[in-house]
């Protein structure tokens, strides 16, 4: 059978001379170089792109830590919109979807009762916050003044939005087409914190909470400059002086122009990746479009009324000290203060404590499981299990008390022994 060989330009005749064959081979090699070159150029441009993005700390006039904190406090930026990337790595195994950390007991569930259960997955803002406690999430935020805010969690082919407009707070879950509606507690939080539960993840809110905890137990320094979301920023570093805490350092990148925190990083003392990393990947300080904050429940959506007042009361009872993130821990008691504060909880309804008490008593398979998850410890308080994550250690005693904090195991045992 006659072969049809590729024609090379004008010379169609397959003259099978030695020279032609070698030229043929060379041309073949040259042809294959094209896809290789294309792939190489692409790889190189990706590499250069990331290198460019991370290089070049901006040149800014020196500033003292005091002045920088003052700048943050004075910042009166009311309007902004942008995209925030939040990465949380507590060292917990990633949770299967639908199961959330510390599924809000008592107050949270009572708020929307059977309706929440019927929807299958809990779609309340509280439950959503706990979802942010592991993995990487993209949030889109927009704010216009103290009573118009919007925050959306960008999910795969779905979105969870919390919108505050005036005293109305809406939460919309597109996956289940469910709306949660509540009224903003005016005056309670200075009438400022809108979808309070979810705002906890934005760099501003994290920075604000941290600065509130700053006292003489913390060393505050300015550590050079960085570029965040294309903006020049100073880097503020807070390092706890106490030895018992597991917190290594908190870094806050503060916009050099308007004092808005752009990036928040919390790294553990034992090194490794940051436990919490929240940063703007895109930010603008223009006025967001007015209809950004308009919301009316879509046709056919299930609307669940949340009783805001009851919950807010609960939250307040939780007392001062460090915000543990989970809002509904009733009967919580804070030992110590600042970085070394330890939360003390009494058993029933507490996170995992019921299982802790039971598991240790009947030495069935549950007890064995508990032993494999946490390490057994004992002291003058009796015995219990310590569960460790990269940042937080939790001690569950056999008599059903829970001690938790960003402190070392020894500090927990000491606190329990008191």
């Amino acid at each position: 059978m006659a072969r049809i060989e590729p024609t090379h330009g004008t010379d169609g005749a397959p003259d099978a001379g030695e020279g032609t064959r070698r030229a043929h081979g060379r041309r073949k090699a040259v042809r294959y170089a094209v896809p290789v070159a294309v792939a190489g150029v692409a790889a190189a441009s990706i590499g250069i792109g990331t290198a460019l993005a991370s290089s070049g700390d901006p040149d800014l006039p020196k500033i003292s830590a005091q002045d920088l904190i003052a700048k943050m406090a004075e910042s009166d930026t009311q309007q902004l919109s942008g995209t925030v990337k939040v990465t949380t790595d507590l060292g917990l195994p990633s949770l299967p979807s639908g199961l959330s950390l510390g599924d809000a007991p008592a107050g949270g569930k009572a708020g929307h009762g059977s309706a929440g259960k019927e929807a299958g997955a809990d779609t309340s803002p509280q439950a959503k916050l706990t979802e942010l406690a592991s993995g990487t999430h993209t949030l889109r935020v927009a704010a216009d003044g103290p009573d118009k805010q919007r925050l959306s969690i960008v999910e795969r082919a779905a979105e969870y939005s919390v919108i505050r407009n005036g005293d109305q707070v809406w939460a919309y879950d597109s996956k289940s087409n469910t709306v949660h509606r509540s009224t903003a507690p005016k005056g309670m939080h200075g009438g400022k914190e809108a979808p309070q539960e979810l705002r906890g993840a934005s760099p501003q809110e994290l920075a604000k909470k941290t600065l509130a905890a700053v006292d003489d137990s913390t060393s505050v320094t300015v550590d050079g400059t960085v570029k965040v979301a294309g903006r020049d920023a100073y880097q503020l570093v807070l390092k706890p002086k106490a030895a018992e805490t597991t917190v290594g350092a908190v870094r806050i990148a503060v916009d050099a122009k308007n004092g808005v925190p752009l990036k928040f990083t919390l790294s553990p003392k034992n090194g490794g990746k940051a436990v919490v990393d929240a940063a703007f990947t895109k930010v603008g300080f223009g006025k967001p479009a007015a209809d950004t904050f308009d919301f009316k429940p879509p046709k056919g959506a299930k609307v669940i009324e949340d009783k805001a007042d009851g919950k807010a009361g609960k939250e307040h009872k939780a007392g001062p000290g460090k915000d543990a993130g989970a809002p509904d821990l009733s009967g919580m008691n804070v030992l110590g203060k600042g970085w070394t504060s330890i939360a003390e909880l009494k058993a029933p309804g507490g996170v995992g404590s019921g299982a802790g008490a039971k598991g240790a008593k009947d030495a069935g398979p549950a007890g064995a499981l508990l032993d494999s998850l946490g390490s057994k410890v004992s002291g003058s308080f009796g015995s219990g299990h310590v569960f460790s994550t990269r940042l937080v250690n939790v001690l569950v005693t056999d008599d059903g008390k829970v001690y938790a904090g960003a402190v070392t195991k020894d500090a927990l045992i000491k606190a329990a022994s008191k």
Partner: protein, 294 residues
């Protein structure tokens, strides 16, 4: 054949004009779409929205909503409120497998199928050049990508309009827009889905130039698709995942946010363009340098 046609054909042959390339493309498109196999594939794709629509209708006959608590394919809970969402649900349901499989079959068959049936030689006898033939094959495959996506979208729209009410569209950000804008967004979504298939089309074309067996090329392309989908599922392999062609496929849903979230959409387009460039040129290198014996 009329006199005029003969002269145009003769003129076209004597001086290769853009029209000539177009006629090659036309003949390739004809070859693709006249195949029973292609028609059957499009029929299966058109049937998916019908099945989804009827299933949702039956499940919600008593007034409930489908996909309670976020289960099931994306957007399914919205379908009962607005038939337009059946377009998005159907595209989300077919994009992971049905659509790319159909494209893989057509792309894998494009060169290898001709080789195995012994018709590739005759195509090369025409003074069109291999590069141009390959381009025609690739564009015909891309035309099939568009046709397949539009088949799903059109069938879904028809079924949605028949079974469910139509009206203002609530985007996944909770913003309500008019039906007209919703329709525009649906068109944009269909476009994004069609473009998402460019990568596998180029990959299939390259595989198709490697072998003389049409079946082998199709099986390899679909196998690569499945492999990429599996690799995309493992969190441990997250380092390579942004470079897998199916990785950003679901980004078409970002067109339904307000404001539109462009990051992943653009990533997807860039990735598909990269696959088209790398595997397109690899296919060219292979095809223009290969000995065709059948």
């Amino acid at each position: 054949m009329s006199q005029a046609e003969v002269t145009t054909a003769a003129a076209a042959r004597s001086a290769p004009s853009p029209l000539w390339a177009l006629s090659l493309f036309r003949s390739e498109v004809g070859t693709v779409f006249r195949r029973w196999r292609t028609i059957a594939l499009l029929g299966v794709l058109a049937a998916v929205p019908v099945l989804v629509g009827i299933a949702v209708k039956m499940e919600t006959g008593d007034g409930g909503t489908a996909g309670r608590g976020g289960a099931g394919p994306a957007f399914i809970s919205q379908v009962t409120n607005n038939g337009l969402f059946l377009v998005f649900t159907s595209l989300a349901a077919t994009l992971p497998f049905f659509l790319p499989m159909a494209v893989g079959v057509v792309a894998g068959d494009s060169v290898a199928g001709e080789a195995s049936s012994g018709t590739l030689r005759y195509l090369l006898v025409a003074p069109a050049g291999r590069t141009r033939l390959l381009l025609a094959k690739f564009t015909a495959t891309l035309a099939f990508c568009c046709a397949a996506t539009l088949t799903v979208a059109a069938s879904a729209l028809a079924v949605g309009a028949l079974l469910f009410p139509l009206g203002d569209v609530t985007l996944i950000s909770g913003v309500t827009v008019s039906f007209g804008e919703g329709l525009l967004r649906a068109l944009a979504v269909a476009g994004a889905v069609a473009l998402s298939l460019v990568g596998i089309a180029a990959l299939g074309l390259f595989v198709s130039t490697l072998t003389n067996s049409g079946i082998a090329a199709m099986a390899t392309t679909v196998g690569l698709l499945i492999t990429a989908q599996i690799v995309d599922q493992f969190p441990q392999l997250h380092a390579v995942q942004p470079y897998l062609f199916p990785h950003y496929w679901l980004s078409f849903a970002d067109l339904l946010r307000a404001p539109v979230y462009w990051d992943q959409l653009l990533d997807n387009l860039g990735l598909q363009a990269l696959y088209a460039a790398v595997f397109g040129s690899a296919a060219w290198a292979r095809f223009t340098a290969k000995d065709v014996t059948a």
